[in-house]
């Protein structure tokens, strides 16, 4: 009745794959952004699991830095999405095709 450390890694891989599929198939920019957050979280889970496997706390420290970068990224990204919404009145990624010739 124990949990091998690899199970956490399998769970994190599954969450990462779900996030990737979400980024690929959803058209709502905000939901795509949330899927990116999910992927970042799964990587954090992997880092923490490896910190425990290695008996070294550096993985947890790296998770903190990932969280800080994610917070900064969300701030700027959501500001960009708001600007895009003011411009196009839509948050669908399909409506962003200004560069299409």
């Amino acid at each position: 009745m124990s949990v091998p450390a690899g199970y956490y890694l399998v769970l994190a891989a599954a969450l990462f794959s779900i996030g990737l599929v979400g980024v690929l198939i959803r058209r709502n920019l905000i939901v795509m952004f949330m899927c990116v957050e999910l992927m970042l979280n799964s990587v954090n889970l992997t880092l923490t699991a490896f910190a425990r496997i290695r008996g070294d706390i550096d993985g947890q420290i790296l998770s903190f830095f990932v969280m800080v970068v994610a917070a900064a990224e969300v701030t700027v990204g959501l500001a960009l999405i708001i600007n895009l919404f003011r411009l196009r009145a839509s948050v669908s990624a399909d409506d962003v095709h200004s560069l299409r010739s």
Binding site: S2, A5, G6, S17, N28, V31, M34, R52, A71, R86
Partner: protein, 220 residues
């Protein structure tokens, strides 16, 4: 035993909430599912002997970041935030196929060496006795019992303020830049072209342009 129960309760919760986030048509419901997912992952952090990380996960992710997401969703209007037609129809099977392939690849490469029953992390009491033993060469799990001896917060804080001081300071700069960037991007001008004109050419840097550009496009 406790870890067994917590993992097998929380892993399906995390997977289920992630999948339902993917399938929810309404973006607000997707955001709430993501909050559930963050809480499940926070519990897993606590099980993984990262108690401080679990707390920060709840405060920063489930608290701050998801509130920001929900604010933006409410700001843009909930009725517009739904997907409208759901996922991309033609690309969806290919995307799912790619996701499954990535999962198999990741599980087979990253997780595969740690899947046997002997790779379970030792309970805290057992680990305290065998701290002098060298870590297993291949696979195995050392556990954080000796590192967390004086508490996880202390261990993290000591590392953060000794070995990782420079990255820590750099992240503060990053946060300030992100906050200023969000302020500049979020500013709304009635007549942005006046703002650009008023500035001398040398002083009108890229920041002023970035702030003015989107608004200019509204009134061509």
């Amino acid at each position: 035993m406790a870890e067994f129960v917590v993992f097998w309760v929380m892993a399906p919760v995390a997977l289920g909430s992630a999948l339902s986030m993917l399938l929810m048509r309404n973006a607000v419901h997707a955001a709430l599912m993501l909050v559930v997912n963050f809480f499940a992952i926070a519990v897993l952090y606590a099980v993984l002997e990262a108690q401080f990380l679990a707390t920060i996960q709840i405060i920063v992710y489930a608290g701050a970041i998801m509130v920001l997401f929900l604010f933006v969703l409410m700001l843009l209007g909930v009725h517009r935030a739904d997907v409208g037609g759901g996922a991309l129809r033609r690309q969806a099977p290919v995307a799912v196929l790619l996701g499954v392939a990535l999962f198999v690849l990741l599980a087979g490469s990253v997780a595969q060496p740690y899947l046997s029953a002997g790779d379970a992390c030792p309970a805290a009491a057992v680990a305290a006795e065998r701290t002098d033993a060298p870590p297993p060469a291949n696979g195995g799990c050392v556990g954080l019992a000796s590192v967390n001896e004086r508490g996880n917060v202390q261990a993290v804080g000591i590392q953060l303020f000794t070995r990782y001081t420079w990255p820590f300071e750099v992240t503060s700069v990053l946060l300030i830049v992100a906050a200023i960037g969000a302020l500049v991007l979020g500013r709304k001008h009635e007549r942005p072209e006046e703002l650009v004109d008023r500035l001398p050419a040398a002083a009108a840097g890229p920041q002023a342009d970035a702030a003015a550009d989107p608004e200019e496009a509204i009134q061509p």
